[in-house]
Symmetry: C2
Subunit: 209 residues, 2 copies
DNA sequence: ATTAGACTGAACCCATGGGTTCAGAAGTGT
DNA sequence: ACACTTCTGAACCCATGGGTTCAGTCTAAT
């Protein structure tokens, strides 16, 4: 019966967390399309399929709602990016780095160009909430750079890249990939990725014969 | 007397424009440190040294205030960046591209790291104001890329860079410069600039012997 | 069946702040 | 001196919306 009690608690807790997550997701969706100022909590409640007091039952106020919603979405986006980078793990042993880097780059860029990722970038910096920008950067950019640096270090060690600072190399590859999105929000993603890998390999590829 | 009348009109118009600009500058300063939602028009008026009705005498409403303030600041920042790029004009004839590009890069990066430029980037994307982001991108990023592409094209034609698409090359150099600011907001600017030029020249420099 | 906890919906309170009005001051051209 | 425009400062109106309260409902565990 101890197990039944704890099961019951787990179910309840699970239910609570699900609902909380639904609220955060709804909040993120509304904030993303309306901005902070134009968003009213009632609309968030509707989006989440929940009554307004329920929102305040899970979150303290509008600002917490914003912070936690953005951070939660940042975690999702960060995880997708990490997954795209991690595909370099097995593939690294294979043939020329251009193919394997190209595939990872295209995957990464698709995630970064996704509506959710764009919204995270917009909402993170805006609205002067102390610490939020740093927190989101930690959960996305820095984590991704670190994961990519790991992979590049292995490539360099294997002689497929020239010796370099992996952190800096990762940063360069990432800005070559995602930077152009700021200049051409709706360009061909694969073309951007290929151009980025091209430049990256000319700069960091192994000394050619 | 026609001249006197027109002089009078000019003085008045000048006075009006000055005051309008003072209001826009004050608005930008307050929006930059408070964000849109937390900013009240009264504070803008105080910052500009003006009474609240005077603000509404020059601008229609809070949203116009925001748009025009951001666009005005974007114009200033854009002009400074163009100036930094334009120093490639005379210097282009000189010695190795590394020195001349490095100097321009450091100048450009200083402007982009400036508080005003950071604020423009923050405020431009935020707050779901249709068209504002595009307008600011037009006044800054695209203009700068275009100016830089002009200079790079001349360098390529002079054989100091390998043949390339100047627009794309300019974009790559710019993201290598400004991208790292997102990852390390307070790193050594000159180090970033040098690393960017280094990578850029390995990718776009003339075929080495 | 009972009890406990979460959820609902609607009404409610009220601080905030956008935008306006107005009477008068101050500067300007004639 | 006179008229004209602009600016001031203070008060004012009022829509918006954050946050709360409450009485009643639903679910689930015992």
């Amino acid at each position: 019966m101890g197990s039944e009690v704890s099961t019951g608690h787990r179910r309840k807790a699970r239910g609570r967390d699900d609902r909380r997550q639904a609220i955060l997701d709804g909040a993120f969706a509304v904030f993303a399309r309306r901005g902070y100022a134009q968003t009213c909590v009632k609309e968030i409640a509707q989006e989440a399929g929940v009554a307004k007091p329920t929102v305040y039952n899970h979150l303290n106020d509008k600002e917490s709602l914003y912070r936690e919603a953005v951070e939660s979405a940042a975690d999702r986006v960060g995880a997708q990016c990490i997954a795209a980078v991690e595909q370099l793990r097995e593939a690294a042993a294979d043939g020329d780095p251009r193919a394997v880097l190209g595939a990872a780059a295209r995957g990464l860029l698709r995630v970064c160009h996704d509506e959710e990722a764009r919204a995270v970038r917009r909402l993170a910096g805006a609205e002067a909430m102390p610490g939020l920008a740093a927190s989101v950067r930690e959960r996305t950019a820095l984590r991704i750079r670190s994961a990519l640096a790991d992979r590049l270090a292995r490539l360099a060690l294997a002689g497929r890249l020239r010796p370099c600072d992996p952190e800096l190399a990762a940063e360069h590859l990432l800005v070559l990939l995602t930077g152009p999105l700021e200049y051409r929000p709706d360009a061909d993603l694969d073309a951007i990725a290929d151009a980025a890998v091209d430049v990256f390999l000319r700069a960091y590829g192994e000394e050619h014969a």
